[in-house]
């Protein structure tokens, strides 16, 4: 076994820490878990550093006790609707006499494709290689090494975000006395965790439904064609129920988890759900139909927004792997039915793969991003040359 690694996710509803020991074959054994209800975080962004720090410390301590290790370094999973993407095409001329493309030229075109100008308050988070194009060929290739051509182009998907918001997350870890060695966008981590190479090849839409944000990643022809985040999540469902039915946030959250559904359930439309009293909120009954009407409207809108982005940004219209849902929202009753209807393709829940150990992270779609980050950490640790996910942000901040 190699040294254990730890990942931290400061979510809107919960702070989570996982500790794992990677085996030589790349398999991960989860040895520790720490959780703490989140406070001071909205839409996956820190809004109250002090409160958030307490939660992070609590989760780290629990994970340390659980795994019997001392956590000094963490890999950080982040999200937020400030994260944007741009596809930048870089082009170079192949200079060698025989016009055979070499690894050097591949590196050169990657550098050219990464060269984008962003506003001063934005930072590049990931630059992800798309397909290479040789001369005027319309069909792209994944690896141009050894092929002949006079001009080489590359489409690079660049994810960038607001520097200060990311800095706040790093400061939070710093205050909790752990060093962040790598950061990665949660949506990309989910892809690493739940999708098989075959699914990536035939294409699929992965949607990670968290409490604060909904992240999405679209695979098409083996490459990531789209990635982004919407500042809407399970918290909005709770808020909608609280406002619509005059409930406290806690009452609404329990109602959502226990009785909520993404589709209006006609067989129980007249059913009345008892709501126990709480300080400042009297006991009452709400109609099942009202609950599901509120939730259906919100969930349908989220899926429609993702669908609109996919239609706008991705040329390919067929996704053999369909829609894959992860995150806490994937547990919602009938959410698969709704996603299938909106996207007009099959939908299933994505569970972390190639991982064992403690049951919760291996069996829960909520842990897809954390397990994916563990895999990303193992990959970057083992590789002198980083793969397609290249975190430049840390280098710029601390390098």
């Amino acid at each position: 076994m190699a040294h254990p690694i730890a990942v931290l996710e400061v979510g809107t509803s919960e702070v989570r820490v996982l500790v794992a020991e990677p085996r030589e074959d790349g398999h991960l054994m989860i040895t520790g878990i720490g959780r703490s209800p989140s406070s001071g975080v909205r839409k996956s962004e820190v809004v109250d550093l002090e409160n958030a720090k307490v939660c992070v410390k609590k989760a780290l301590l629990e994970a340390e006790e659980n795994a019997q290790v001392s956590i000094q370094e963490v890999l950080l999973v982040f999200s937020g609707d400030h994260i944007r993407q741009v596809v930048n095409r870089g082009t170079i001329n192949v200079m060698s006499d025989d016009r055979v493309i070499t690894a050097e030229e591949r590196e050169e075109v990657m550098e050219a494709a990464r060269a984008v100008t962003l506003p001063h308050d934005q930072e590049i988070l990931h630059s992800i290689c798309g397909q290479f194009y040789i001369d005027d060929q319309t069909g792209g290739v994944l690896n141009p090494d050894g092929m002949s051509g006079s001009r080489l182009s590359l489409d690079m998907l660049i994810l960038y975000g607001h520097s200060n918001r990311l800095r706040n997350m790093l400061r939070l870890a710093d205050e909790a006395a752990v060093e962040v060695t790598e950061i990665a966008f949660g949506g990309l981590c989910c892809g690493l965790s739940v999708l098989t190479p075959q699914q990536k090849e035939v294409g699929g839409i992965l949607i990670d439904m968290g409490a604060g944000t909904t992240d999405y990643v679209v695979y098409s022809d083996k490459v990531i064609a789209l990635a982004g985040s919407l500042g809407v999540g399970g918290d909005h469902l709770t808020n909608d129920l609280a406002l619509g039915l005059n409930l406290s946030t806690a009452q609404a959250e329990r109602l959502k988890v226990k009785y909520g559904a993404a589709m209006v359930d006609l067989s129980s439309r007249g059913r009345r759900i008892p709501i126990p009293p709480e300080t400042g909120f009297r006991a009452q009954e709400v109609l099942s139909r009202d609950v599901n009407t509120i939730m259906h409207a919100r969930m349908e809108e989220i899926f429609e927004l993702v669908k609109a982005q996919v239609r706008k940004e991705v040329k390919k219209k067929n996704f053999g792997a369909g829609v894959i849902l992860t995150g806490g929202g994937a547990r919602m009753n009938r959410v698969q039915d709704l996603a299938s209807r909106v996207f007009e393709m099959p939908c299933h829940i994505g569970y972390p793969k190639e991982v064992s150990g403690l049951a919760l992270p291996t069996e829960s779609p909520e842990y897809a991003s954390l397990v994916g980050m563990l895999k990303y950490g193992v990959r970057t640790r083992n590789s002198a040359v980083r793969g397609p996910l290249i975190g430049t942000f840390l280098r710029k901040l601390f390098g």
Partner: protein, 407 residues
């Protein structure tokens, strides 16, 4: 030569409108059995009380109603048995309707299931929040008095529970053929007419509109048509396609050779064409149709484009048989005991209570009060919409909760 109106750049696909075709009873199932192969984009189902009849049909979704009540032997036109069948299979029906916005029921009016169960299905579909279009085949005069009586009664039931009733009288179709035609051929022709027209309407509603004609346009006309409409689809290709398509329309047997068109007060005309259709084709169709209409008739025209249509031109025309000009009172949806109580409470609300209910809805819709825990943080704005405001408020969805609170 093309005009900017019809260039490829203006093509846009509408979001797919979930439409479900349901063949009701033996005749209904048979009439649309050929459709799944012809129009693959739509969803199909068959519903019957007769197991043997249902087994013959090629649909993926089939529901045998009232297996316990009838043993799969049919209702024999008994209304009480029909009621029991629907009640017994209510959960299956609601599950069938889930996820669709429009249901098109196709039935023969003279049959046991089509005549007695069908109106109850329409009622349940409306209760499930779907727009209900009933495409009904009227039996031949020659089929006799009792069957005609059953058909009249069934028609009334369908009208009460449907947003629109499209009538396909077999006698009208028979008149177009030679007197020696076979009954099987007549029924086949009827099935083809239903498939072409209802299928055409469904395809139109899901296509990319160049001149929009929405589901609401169609529904509004249906409601003002006093419930009954005729629907025809005609198509042609080649150089003289315009002339031929208009000839077919003006002589169509289901429009009584054009006389229904000439006397109707409300017409919806959808034109489906390929991407290279010139604007003068639309102008010609509009001009020729307007020429035959009465002066006060309301004509709504939409143009949809589909690349698969190439040089073809199709018209789908819905003609109001009786035009009231005023919106018909919507059919009453059967409610559960709780809902009935809530609704009766709504009716008995005093003016002050109604004001209170509206006030509470207005307050909820005001930006200052509708963001709850998100009111003090940076809003999530996408395409001008503030996503921190609950979706149900932005969409104007009403909750029973507010009625009850006003009380």
């Amino acid at each position: 030569m093309t005009t900017p109106l019809l260039t490829e750049s203006s093509i846009h696909l509408r979001d797919a409108l979930p439409i479900l075709f349901v063949g009701v009873g033996h005749a209904g199932g048979k009439l649309i059995a050929h459709l799944p192969k012809r129009v693959t984009e739509l969803s199909y189902a068959a519903v019957d009380t007769d197991r043997a009849s249902l087994d013959e049909l090629p649909f993926d979704r089939k529901i045998l109603l009232g297996d316990v009540a009838t043993g799969g032997m049919g209702t024999g036109g008994n209304p009480e048995l029909a009621q029991s069948c629907v009640e017994e299979s209510e959960d299956s029906l609601y599950a069938l309707f889930q996820g669709f916005r429009v249901v098109i029921l196709v039935a023969g009016l003279g049959g046991g299931t089509g005549g007695t169960v069908g109106p109850l299905l329409a009622d349940r579909a409306r209760e499930a929040g779907l727009i209900v279009i009933s495409a009904l085949v009227q039996p031949l005069e020659a089929e006799g008095g009792s069957r005609r009586n059953l058909a009249e009664s069934a028609l009334s039931g369908y009208r009460d529970a449907s947003d629109a009733v499209m009538l396909f009288p077999l006698d009208s179709l028979k008149a177009a053929e030679d007197p020696s035609m076979l009954l099987s051929r007549l029924l086949k022709r009827c099935g083809m007419e239903i498939g072409r027209s209802i299928g055409g309407l469904a395809v139109l509603l899901r296509s990319g509109w160049l001149i929009p004609l929405t589901l609401q346009d169609v529904v509004q006309t249906m409601h003002r048509a006093d419930g009954y409409c005729r629907l025809v689809a005609v198509s042609a290709d080649g150089e003289d396609r315009l002339t031929r398509v208009l000839d077919q329309l003006f002589t169509h047997p289901l429009l009584d050779k054009g006389s229904l068109l000439a006397h109707s007060g409300g017409i919806v005309l959808g034109m489906l064409c390929g991407p290279l259709t010139p604007v003068q084709d639309l102008e010609r169709v509009s001009f020729e149709v307007r020429k035959v209409l009465r002066s006060d008739a309301e004509l709504k025209i939409g143009v949809a484009q589909d690349e698969r249509f190439g040089q073809h031109l199709a018209l789908v025309v819905m003609v109001a048989e009786h035009w009231s000009g005023k919106p018909r009172a919507l059919p009453q949806v059967e409610t559960t005991a709780d809902e009935a109580k809530a609704e009766s409470e709504d009716e008995t609300l005093t003016v002050a209570e109604k004001k209170k209910m509206i006030q509470s809805e207005i307050e909820l819709a005001s930006p200052a009060k509708n963001k709850g825990r998100f009111k003090d943080i940076q809003p999530t704005i996408v395409e001008g919409a503030d996503l921190d405001t609950p979706t149900f408020i932005r969409k104007g969805l009403r909750l029973s909760f507010h009625k009850e609170r006003a009380k």
